[in-house]
Assembly symmetry: C2
Homo-oligomer: 380 residues x 2
């Protein structure tokens, strides 16, 4: 039986990116950043990688543009993005026979095709799974092979066909290790209640440390319910706290600016209120040598090691107290942790294993079906 | 080559309904009403029909519940309905080999599977197609077989694989022919700018005829942008017009109430502002013998015959003038038109042809592929 591999180790891999942001992203876009990092590393290893992504993406892989421009930046803006999932899946289907494995980052949108597929389709889930509308979804799709980005993420849907937890890798060359501890606390993330910038401000004030906030302000007008909630949160919970000294809003940062911002901080504050499935900024801070002070939610206890790469606490007050202990953390240990656990290499190793197993399982299924058909033909 | 038909005329058919409303619908839900009518007629003709629909549906077909309860009525309400498309497609896939043809009413959500499918999947489109986000979608999916519900509907996407226009059929037994002309004008539809109830009120007032409006008021609070727009429209454009006499809001009507409401009207006003793809209420009014006065948009000139089953006009003023001519319309001719063009039988005849052609085309494709494989095997 042939399984059509290019060579035992060299695979023909399709990476499917969402159409909203380019790969890599201009600024915000954790999923697209991880897809970029993984894709480049797989190309470097000699795999034949095809990246289905927006046309303004940049990659060493073969790029199939799914939309000319990433939808978050397209003008005029489309009033509804839903049809684009179908467009991408349609494009993939046209050449699916040319891949050994398809790696979908399209949330659950590829699940029906994964079930139908004549090639293995593995999906990495990038979002939270504890939402009511996902219960019937995961009750139906117990067969499609899934990858979680933390063990915490998969907890709400334990009966799925989990293949592995693969932590995100980041391009370590873009994060400069800074051995000396800075003088301010850093916050980087969306202005959204779940990210807890209000908590960060209170912690910094109580601990008498300056706080720098790297974030885009919520847009004043939007039809999107989440965006409106973020605006209300900003106006009611955050703006009043910004009065007074010690707190600086520096806008969005990317590239070298982000490297500087994280590397020169004494610590990153990560006081989230939601079960964040991974939290890429924690890995980015560690790569700069900067420890992370976080509330114990979601992936936090998997990404951080308490008292080694930061402090994990249950309450705001405990995090205030932890600020006084930042000096106990070895910044070189933080960098080492990022290198050992969150490198492109470690991530790609893990995905290569996932791909190999998916191909093997698929082949076994196909072989079984063929055998069944032959048996039935014999009986008939 | 076998194509697995149950018999030359008896087909194994899957009908795929959206998960929002039961089949048939409690009240509002044109798509679900048509699916119900078609399904029952196909069962009556001896086909083996499987209906994928919400669990609170009622059908003579085999019912596969896609959700326990229709999503519009489920409590607590799910915050996002998108995952349910995938759930339905996943369920269909599990038994797709047992159908000769799959008839999808799931908008474009089944397109990737239609491309992948080992069975023909025909999609009837129930919505408007002139939206910007649909351009890239239909540019990609020129291959999947489609059915339009009016010729007007398909105009924005002329290059798709159109199989037929099939007008909606209605269960004529539920609409009583009333030979005598009533004394009021009727409006039935959503309170939404595109349905033009404000125009209807002005027409009735100018023509000095009483108007009865059968509609549910927009909900006061909603996160949905369309629902909010409807509320603003109601408060700003409609409510001021309701002051004064001659206009009566009677709430939602269904079943016998709807039959009475339509049958006892002098005419139905249909002053739409949007390209309505079919407009089921026009056929329902005709079935009661009630002519329709409509603005010339979308499917109107296909469903109505000017001066025969109503009046088709370009402006509000022209419709006011048309009210004076209602007496010229033969109500028996209206009923006859509904029987000849919008019966379950006519609709099912058309779909049987569509199914037969889809099965034939699919078989030809499969045969061609098998032949190609054999040729290649010979060459190898």
């Amino acid at each position: 039986m042939t399984i059509g591999l290019a060579s035992p180790t060299q695979l023909r891999i399709a990476q499917l990116a969402p159409p909203f942001e380019s790969v890599p992203p201009a600024r915000y876009g954790g999923t697209e950043r991880v897809i970029a990092t993984l894709t480049e590393e797989l190309v470097r290893r000699g795999h034949q990688v095809t990246l289905f992504a927006s046309g303004d993406s940049h990659t060493l892989a073969r790029l199939i543009p799914t939309v000319p421009q990433a939808l978050w930046h397209a003008k005029p803006a489309y009033p509804d993005f839903a049809p684009f999932w179908a467009v991408i899946l349609g494009q993939v289907w046209r050449e699916i026979e040319h891949f050994d494995v398809v790696h979908s980052h399209l949330d659950y949108f590829g699940f029906p095709m994964a079930r139908a597929g004549i090639r293995p389709i593995v999906t990495t889930l990038h979002g939270r799974l504890d939402l009511p509308q996902l219960e019937p979804l995961y009750a139906e799709f117990t067969d499609v092979p899934l990858v979680s980005i933390s063990d915490a993420q998969r907890r709400p849907v334990p009966n799925s066909n989990w293949q592995a937890t693969v932590y995100h890798g980041i391009d370590l060359d873009q994060y400069t290790f800074n051995p000396s501890r800075g003088r301010y606390l850093a916050f980087l993330g969306r202005i959204s209640s779940e990210k807890g910038v209000d908590t960060a401000i209170r912690i910094a004030r109580c601990a008498a440390m300056p706080l720098k906030i790297a974030a885009r302000l919520p847009l004043p007008f939007s039809n999107d319910a989440n965006a409106r909630a973020d605006r209300v949160y900003y106006e009611q919970e955050v703006e009043p706290l910004l009065e007074g000294s010690g707190v600086e809003l520096i806008g969005q940062v990317g590239g070298k600016e982000k490297d500087d911002f994280l590397g020169h901080a004494a610590a990153l504050l990560f006081p989230i209120r939601w079960p964040e499935p991974f939290g890429l900024v924690m890995a980015e801070a560690l790569a700069c040598g900067t420890p992370v002070l976080a509330l114990c939610r979601g992936s936090v206890p998997e990404v951080l090691r308490d008292a080694v790469t930061g402090f994990i606490r249950d309450t705001e007050d405990e995090l205030v107290e932890a600020v006084t202990k930042i000096g106990e953390i070895d910044r070189a240990r933080c960098r080492a942790e990022a290198e050992q656990r969150f490198s492109p290499c470690v991530m790609a190793d893990a995905y290569e294993q996932v791909y190999a197993r998916a191909i093997e399982q698929r082949s076994a299924t196909v072989e079984l079906k063929d055998q069944t058909r032959e048996d039935l033909a014999w009986l008939a």
